[in-house]
Amino acid sequence: MTDRTLEERALRAEFRRVPMPPDLTVPPDLADAVLGELRPGPRRRGLLIAAAAAATAAAIAVPLALVGGRPDAPAPPAGGLPAVLRFPAFGGGPVTAWVWDLVDAHGTRTSYLLDPRTGTYHRMPYPVVLSPDTRYVAVSDGGHHVGWATRDEILSRGARAVRWLDEHPSLPGFDGFDGTAPRWSPDGTTLMWSRAAAQSGGTSLWVFTLALRDASTGGQRTTVSALYGNPGWDADSAHYLALVTPKQGDPAGLYRVPLDRRTPPVKGAAGTVGGAESYSPSRQYAYLDGSPLGGPHLVLVLPTGTAIPVPTGTDSTRWYDDTTLAQVGLDGVTLTDFHTGVSRVVRPVRRGPVPPGQVSVQTGPSAGLTGAAASLGF
């Protein structure tokens, strides 16, 4: 056997030996995405001959049926969620649910993002995290990679609109995401997520921030920082907060760390290891969901750190205004003034068929919504 043949055999064996990455999966909406690109846009639509128009009508008949809003409409077939859904409309108000997240029995999260032009919610190719101004979404691909897109782009182009952020070859220890999901800064300008990078003798956690101030021109800036523990945003958007455990060598507690790292971390910060959704519109208050730790739900008064217990419930709790928390569910929204404890319930005026499973919401201002979307606010 020649050297060349041996080398060829070795290379073939190497290809067989190397496992494929676990996230190398075909996107479930791949055919939809391709066929969507194939279809002509509105400008060319007028030129279609009658037969082609009939075919297009047949193609869009299914999504139209799904968004028809019939209360007795059947649940979608197992293993597939509808491309478009209508979620409850509450009759109008200053806040609306921009994203509904459906979580199935296996814990898989599917995000539906509001198209403000139609008032309908569109299934996203990846779970999304909406920026506070609702203009951008961060995406997390099955917990392995993080990217971002503008809201309008991802609504029109789907997965192809996403700019992936974590493929830089010079960053050490990169192989998939193992840390926290992306979190927007309270001022909405910066995206942070963390990643565990293996080191000899242990695991370190890293934080990456991306300034999106000039995202409209495609500019990006990435900074890298070491971190002690699970990171979240400080209310000022210039620091992150990190929980430090005793085994990591420093006194345990919540540390406040400047993003530019020009000053040392300070122990004893008041805040929460969350994202923009944790802070009230004025950023004077932070909401702490105590359920994962079995503790009470609290509102922290910043910067003193005074805690106010608030009612608990099974629905998503989001900020409504600086004195009010909203618990948002498919059957209604409970608005509670956390200073007085007084609540009122807003019932939906219309709701479409929503597949079974847990739901949660991401809220934002409803200002500017018109037509069918105007009634979605509460």
């Binding site: 060349r4 041996l6 080398e7 060829e8 055999r9 070795a10 290379l11 073939r12 064996a13 190497e14 290809f15 030996r17 190397v18 496992p19 494929m20 990455p21 996230d23 190398l24 999966t25 075909v26 996107p27 791949l30 055919a31 995405a33 391709v34 066929l35 690109e37 194939l38 075919a55 047949a58 193609a59 691909d141 392995h144 990679h145 990217g147 997965a159 192809r160 996403v162 992936w164 952020l165 493929e167 830089h168 010079s170 960053l171 050490p172 220890g173 192989d175 990078a197 293996a198 080191q199 000899s200 370190s204 990006q220 800036r221 990435t222 900074t223 890298v224 920082s225 070491a226 790292r261």
Partner: protein
């Protein structure tokens, strides 16, 4: 595309995309680029669906499109500036602990050193196990060119990644 053709196309995507995606992964070197490349290749196939007779022909068309798109795509990507990193990590990682990851990175790193055409030849010959004549047909080049490109690729791998092509192989 008529409703019948759309059904056929969806079936094709369901049945064949997995294999095409794995090939796209070796051509591009990362998961997301592989998905983009696959989608671009499928779009080409969809645009010509009325001329495609069966799933076998569709597979050949999509595969050819995949390789040719990969060559163009890599050229266009090479012009794109990389994301700058403003600050370097303070405690750089010493290496990956997962054996799978190390293996994968070794092979991908080796493939990255090859020019696009050599890489395509290597993937077709040694990953997909296709004969030289078929490789030539898919890439639109002569059989002799396939042979010479494979030789050059092996020489480059031999010089840069000797462990990769001299590892023990069970006959």
């Amino acid at each position: 595309m008529t409703p019948d053709q759309e059904r056929e196309f969806r079936r094709f995507v369901t049945e064949r995309s997995g294999g095409l995606l794995r090939t796209a992964y070796y051509l591009t070197g990362d998961v997301h680029s592989a998905r983009d490349l696959l989608q671009a290749a499928l779009l080409g196939a969809a645009r010509n669906w009325d001329r495609i007779r069966d799933l076998g022909a569709a597979d050949a068309y999509a595969r050819r499109s995949l390789y040719r798109q990969a060559l163009n795509w890599r050229r266009s990507r090479s012009r794109r500036p990389e994301t700058p990193v403003a600050a370097v990590a303070e405690h750089p990682a010493g290496g990956d602990h997962a054996g799978d990851t190390v293996l994968r990175h070794g092979l991908l790193a080796a493939l990255r050193t090859l020019p696009p055409r050599q890489r395509a030849v290597v993937v077709l010959r040694y990953w997909e196990d296709r004969p030289e004549a078929e490789v030539a047909d898919l890439l639109g080049i002569a059989v002799g060119t396939v042979r010479s490109q494979a030789s050059k690729a092996l020489a480059k791998l031999r010089a840069g990644f000797p462990d990769l092509i001299t590892s023990e192989v069970t006959p």
